[in-house]
Structures are given as C-alpha cells and as structure tokens.
C-alpha cells in the first residue's frame, strides 16, 4: 500500500496535459452543477426552513429522501430525458458536459435545499420574530436570515460539491466518459482501475482529494471575507 502511494506521488509529479484537461473539466462540471444548485437550492431551502414544520412535513421528507438519491438513478432520469427519444432529445445534450451538469445538478440540489432548510430552521424562528418586531419587510427578512445562516448554507454547498465531485454513476451514464470531451476524474479512475492501472487510479484519487480540499479552502475564505466587510 505504501509502495503504491509512493508510485502515485511519482506519477503526480509528471502531469501531462490530458490529465490537466480532466481536472479542469471535473471542476467545470461539478462547479457549474453546484453553482446552479445553490442558485435554486438556497432560496428554496430558506423558504422551506421558514415554513411551519407541520405544514411542510411531506415536502421535507421528500427532500431528505432525494438527498440519498443514488447517482446512477439520477443519471438514468437525465439520460431518459435527453436521449434521442427523450423529451429533450432534440437538443443533443447526451454525451456532452451539459448533460453531466444536468445530472449533477439533480443530485446536488436536494442536498443544498435540505441542509439550507435545516440551517435556516435552527436560526430562523427567533431571528424571524425579532426582524418582524423591528419592522422589516419580507424581502429584507429573507435576505437577513440567509445571511445569518451563512455558515450552515456554506456547509450545504460544500456537501453538495463533495457529493457530485465524488460520484461516478451519473456522469458515466450521461457523459459517456469520452476522452477529451466528457472524461472527468471519477470516470477516469473507474476506467484505469478496470484496465488494471491501480497506481494511476490512486494518483487520480489523490488529485480528487486535493481539488476538494482547495474548493473547501476557497469557499471558507470567501465566507470569512464576506463576514468582515459587513458594512
């Protein structure tokens, strides 16, 4: 095992351009998917978190269930939608990065919604009442609550990214693992493992971890910066 790690590190030191391409595509696909998931999921999760718990019980359970949606099932749904006979078949999304973003968006959104709603609910009631009492209108209340729950929401986005960047079933299915077009880190790892190139697969696993780590650091920095320039 140690020997394999050493080989993996040696491999990392001579990255070729094909590898860089794969890493960049991974960041592009998972980053876009999570960005879109955040745009939809943060407002939706905030709304959900501010409703009376009894009123949205069914909806909450649905979101929690979807948080555990197996990636291949998410991929399958998107696949059925965008294949030639599918509803969106005419757009030719299948086997493109767009298709991969769609699938990962489907996987990340419930996580962002679910975790945002929990973060908002834990802060929400007292803050909400305080703000109403201070004479704030609905829009301002909403924005302020999102700001107050920012740590939890950031966690939701990180968790969403962690899930999609690590999944392989969905992107394999709708992306097709095409070299130079839709090949991302996880699908490469599967491919190389199947080929028996365990060192290379392990090296890619390490890079994946590093990408994830950098993403976390950047988000944490953004959030720290945001907190200090609060006027």
């Amino acid at each position: 095992m140690l020997l394999e790690f050493w080989d993996a590190i040696k491999l990392l030191s001579n990255l070729d351009s094909g590898l860089a391409e794969i890493v960049l595509l991974t960041i592009y696909v998972s980053g876009s998917a999570v960005l879109l998931a955040a745009l939809l999921g943060i407002p939706a999760g905030t709304w959900l978190g501010m409703q009376k718990q009894g009123k949205v019980k069914g909806l909450t359970r649905l979101v929690y269930t979807l948080m555990g949606l197996p990636p291949v099932v998410g991929g399958l749904i998107i696949y059925l939608l965008i294949r030639r006979q599918g509803l969106l078949g005419t757009f030719g999304f299948l086997y493109t990065p767009t298709a991969m973003i769609m699938a990962q968006f489907l996987l990340a959104t419930p996580i962002v919604i679910g975790m945002t709603s929990v973060a908002v609910r834990s802060k929400g009631k007292n803050i909400h009442e305080t703000l109403v009492s201070l004479g704030a209108r609905k829009g301002l209340i909403l924005r302020s609550i999102i700001w107050e729950a920012r740590y939890g929401i950031l966690g939701a986005v990180i968790a969403g990214f962690g899930r999609v960047v690590a999944e392989v079933g969905a992107v394999m299915m709708v992306g097709g693992n095409i070299e130079g077009k839709t090949r991302v880190m996880t699908t490469t790892i599967v491919l190389e493992t199947r080929k028996g190139n365990f060192d290379f697969a392990l090296a890619l696993g390490l890079i994946l971890l590093i990408v994830s780590f950098i993403f976390n650091v950047i988000l944490y920095q953004i959030q720290q910066g945001g907190a200090s320039d609060d006027e």
């Binding site: 109403v132 009492s133 700001w147």
Partner: protein, 245 residues
C-alpha cells in the same frame, strides 16, 4: 375612557381544544406603563406576542390607536412599525453592535446621518459606545440585552412591548434598564407593556397592572388598586406571596 392606545375585546388563543389565553376586555391607555403579571403559564407572553402580531388570535380583536382594527395576520407594515418588542432572550444578528442597533432604522429607510445620530446616542445611553464596532456575538448577556433595548429605542416606537426583559440579568443591568424604561416613558410618552413575574419590578415601574391566571385575565386597573387591594382571591394569593408557582 379617553386615549386608549390598545383595546382588546373577546381575545382567545387556542391550540386544538386547549385555550391558553382568554381576555374578555382590556384597555391600555396611551402613555401608561402596563405590567402584565401572574404565575408562569398564565398566557402573559402569548398576549404580548399577539399584540406584536407574531401570533394570530383564534378569536376576538385588538384595536390599535383607536382606529386600526386587526384580527388577522395580513401585513400592515405601517402598524408594525409603530411598535416593537424586546424579548426575554435577546436575538442579536451576527453583525457589529452598531449594525444591530441600526437595523430597524435601515429597514425604515432613514437617512444615513440620522441613523448615525440615533445609534450613537442610543449607544451612549446604554453605555456601550466603545463596543460599537465589535461583533454582537462577543457580548455578555447583560450587554446583549442592553443592545436589544437600544435597537428598540432608536425606532421611537409609540408602544414598546417587553417580555420579561430583565429576567436573566444581574442587579446592575436590571437597574439600568428599569431607569431606561422610566425615562422613555416619561420623556417621550411611550406606552410600555411589560410582562414580568417580578412583583417588585411591577411596583417600581407600572402605572397599571393586569393579573393573569391560567390563561384568563382576572382583573386589571391602577397599579396600587390591584396590588394593594385586589378584588379576586387568586390575585391576593399571588400578591401576598402565597401562590406557589
């Protein structure tokens, strides 16, 4: 009676079959300090929250300022902005002390200069001027409650609703805040409705007292009349310290 700032009629709040609050009639005069007293679970906080429109009554009505009748929770931001509430446990926003106090003024779109003037003045009043740029989350319990008071006062409300505002504080903070309550009542004529289980505090502050027991308003009136010469046995038990709660 002239100058009723709040008139409550037939107000009820129930959860299912359980009625937690029932007020046949209660008037609060403009410029008075009304203490709502009674043992725990008497429905005092619920009344305050309904007045502040944080909860919807199950039946009955409240007439604000002699003309605005509202029984439902439909938005009336104008009305909402004429009153404000200070809670037993202050909820401060995760921002600076200054921003916390300025929040309501910003919501009302005050000029920046005016906001600064009022916030600085309020900070001086509560003695926390030097903490103005500190994060609110670093404050002690007493400091936080003083900021919550300042946040309410800068709004110059016509009615201020106080829900056990000094229950968890040390005597020095209690003294400061009580002085503050008296000051705004006397200088600005702000009507104060304060929920307290502390009889002595009611005596120190109130012009009027309403006694609640088990969700019902048993009696209300002039502070001395209710506390020194209560009509109901329950009130007497409470006032004379025989009620265990």
């Amino acid at each position: 009676m002239m100058n009723e700032i709040l008139k409550i009629k037939g107000l009820k709040k129930s959860y299912g079959k359980r009625t937690v609050l029932s007020v046949k009639e209660l008037s609060i005069e403009k410029g008075s300090v009304m203490a709502i007293i009674g043992p725990s679970g008497a429905g005092k906080s619920t009344l305050l929250r309904i007045i502040n429109r944080l909860e919807t009554p199950s039946a009955g009505e409240i007439v604000y300022f002699g003309d605005t009748k509202l029984t439902d929770q439909s938005g009336n931001i104008e009305l909402q902005r004429k009153m404000t509430m200070v809670f037993q446990k202050p909820t401060l926003l995760d921002r600076s002390v200054y921003d916390n106090i300025a929040f309501g003024l910003k919501a009302r779109k005050f000029e920046k200069v005016e906001i600064e003037k009022r916030v600085i003045s309020a900070l001086q009043t509560i003695g926390l001027l030097e903490l103005k740029d500190q994060k609110a989350r670093t404050l002690s319990g007493g400091e936080a409650q003083r900021v919550a008071f300042a946040r309410a006062l800068v709004l110059d409300p016509e009615i201020i609703l106080l829900d056990e505002p000094t229950a968890n504080l040390d005597p020095a903070n209690v003294g400061m805040l009580e002085a503050l309550i008296r000051k705004i009542n006397l200088e600005k004529g702000t009507t104060v409705v304060i929920v307290t289980h502390n009889l002595l505090q009611a005596k120190r502050l109130a012009t009027h007292v309403a006694f609640f027991y088990d969700g019902n308003l048993l009696e209300y009136g002039d502070m001395h009349r209710v506390l020194d010469d209560p009509i109901k046995d329950k009130t007497r038990d409470f006032v004379e310290g025989r009620m265990i709660y």
